[in-house]
Amino acid sequence: MIIKSIALGNVEEAYVEERLTDGVNIIFSDDNNKGKTLVMQGMMYAMGNQPIFPKGFNYRSNYFYCKAEINDEEIEFLRRDSSFLVKRQGAQYSFDNVTELKYFLVDENIFNIPQISKDEHRVIADLNLFYELFFIGQDKRNPSNTINSGYNNKKDFVNMLCSLNGYPLMDMEEINEENKQRIQQLKADIAATKKLLKLLKKNPDVSGYVDKYGDSTQFDTFRMRVKRLHNEIAEYKKKRNLEYNRKEKLESLVQELNSLNREIEQGNVICAKCGSDKIIYKSKGISFEVSNSYVRRQVLSSIAYQISQKEEIIFLSFGLGNVGIRNMELILHI
């Protein structure tokens, strides 16, 4: 993959980097905060990476563009928030989310992305994981936890190797980063609580006042978090239901199409005078079939494809919804 040009911005301000050459390119500046990182991350974001922009940069209201030569073929990506436009060989394709883009890149053999299993489902690895391979962060950060850290783990790495080499995927249990962090967090909580208990014993008046104040601010943040999570969960549920409906509709469409394609045959006509079955039906004009088997196969296979794509979106939003619910449970100490 050779990056040809990168651009980002909106109607008020924009930056276009077209000076890239086919060799090694170095982007530098004398000072910090000049936008080097934005250019690099904008490039990956345009091609479907997770947003990893510096805080304070409102990426949602900006457009990101990247032109790359992939397998001797020029492809242009344009992204705003979760919508993509891809231009390839004069044709434009639009996508509503990263998953659709991912499937496109895989189906058209643009990137060869391995399959891994997530929560007992076989999925194609996310583009984030793929772009990690190309990105080395600053300082001592290592690429495996710069982008979307914690989502992919050692197990996924093993599965990736399996998938790339044609072995069946492995499922193995382990204490992952997420659990480790949680254990640490709980330990820290215990320590903090112990301190608080000590303070309470020593000076009941002060602690009572602090408790009250702390309680109300804590409650406010708690309320905000619950509200936000509720909205997120509702959003995912809505999305899931819509996609589920569409999937159901497509499935019944397939059945309907198959039944439509049967020619109705009911008995036959004979001549009443001589009994001959050589009756000629004379009609003007065409009797071409409305479609041939090749076209019908194409229609059916693309419906099947859409169904499977919807299944993944349903599964994903289910998973993400679950993350929301889990967070909620944590907060509510259920």
């Binding site: 044709a91 409305v290 479609s291 090749y294 076209v295 194409q298 229609v299």
Partner: protein, 341 residues
């Protein structure tokens, strides 16, 4: 054990060449535009004609490997008989596979006249034709007729691939890269239709002028084939969610993202139902033909305007299609008609 070797194979090859010959008339000649209809197996394997059937292109197709000059002469006999008949043909064309190289002066040409044959072979061709004519008619042909006829005959070398013929007869373009197998299947559709027409027997019937041939309905109209090709390409493009026809975007611009998805899926589903409904093909083709007669308007006007127009003109729309689906269908047509690639 008994092994079948010959029965259908030759038939298939022969009919393949007849279809290629027809498609050659349709899209590969300078004067292709002047033809409106193909007459199947009446005067000859295929004859092209204009609407009034007062201009005729007569084609003999010979899908036989290893033609030698004598066989070429024999193959010309029907064309020659037509030349001698009361009906006037503008062109006499022999459509055949690539010849062994040594017969020709310039081997690279795919379209030539008798003068491209080396001198010693021209006589052999003439002799072959003469003998075959005598065998069939039991009289000797006029020497001057033979010479004049041979000066007029056009020889056309067929292409091996079917794909090219199909591509040349339509300017309608798919947004997908279609595989060879698609073109083969489409070629097959046309070939089967041609074969059905061939089985209508008119042996012994007489006509006084060429136009009367229309009554036998052994015809394929260019328009029909054109509609067929567009229909098939459209079918391939249909369930391609990544590429909604550009002009359809206006139709759904005011809806939110989720509603848009629903509308698109419904339209695609409706059209899929239309393309799978075997039992209403007459309704379909009548509608599709009427719709394509608006091709020029579709290129420039918005799909919604066209949809309103056809309703005003009382075009019968298949009941399977909703108003939006019709707009979607027109948008898809617009896309294919306007693609200049």
């Amino acid at each position: 054990m008994y092994r079948f070797t010959t029965t259908e194979r030759n038939n298939e090859k022969a009919s393949e060449y007849e279809t290629k010959a027809m498609l050659y008339l349709f899209g590969c000649r300078q004067d292709s535009r002047d033809m409106d209809v193909f007459i199947i197996d009446c005067f000859n394997d295929v004859s092209g004609a204009n609407r009034d059937v007062n201009r005729l292109w007569d084609v003999q197709s010979k899908g036989v490997k290893s033609l030698n000059p004598k066989k070429i002469g024999e193959a010309l006999v029907t064309l020659f008989q037509n030349y001698c008949s009361d009906i006037e043909f503008e062109h006499y064309i022999l459509f055949m596979p690539k010849l062994k190289e040594m017969y020709l002066n310039d081997e690279d040409r795919t379209y030539f006249q008798i003068d491209n044959f080396k001198l010693q072979y021209i006589d052999k061709i003439k002799q072959g034709l003469k003998n075959e004519y005598e065998r069939r008619n039991s009289i000797k042909p006029q020497e001057t007729d033979l010479d004049n006829f041979l000066q007029m005959v056009e020889f056309v070398i067929a292409e091996e691939q079917k794909q090219g013929y199909i591509r040349r007869i339509t300017s309608f373009r798919s947004s997908l890269r279609l595989e060879e197998a698609f073109y083969d299947a489409l070629f097959e559709d046309i070939r089967n239709q041609q074969t059905i027409l061939k089985t209508k027997n008119i042996d012994g019937y007489q006509i006084m002028n060429a136009a009367e041939v229309l009554q036998y309905e052994k015809l394929l109209w260019k328009k029909e084939i054109d509609e067929l090709v567009i229909n098939r390409i459209l079918g391939m493009d249909l369930f391609n969610s990544r590429q909604v026809p550009n002009s359809f975007i206006d139709e759904i611009a005011s809806l939110d993202a989720e509603d848009r998805k629903d509308v698109i899926q419904e339209c695609q589903s409706d059209i899929a139902r239309l393309l799978f409904d075997k039992n209403r093909r007459h309704i379909f083709w009548r509608f599709f033909g009427r719709l394509l007669s608006y091709a020029d308007a579709i290129r420039v006007e918005s799909p919604r305007e066209i949809e309103e127009q056809i309703r005003r003109d009382n075009v019968v729309i298949p009941r399977i299609l909703s108003q939006k689906s019709v707009v979607y269908l027109i948008s898809a047509l617009k896309e294919g008609l306007n693609d200049d690639n």
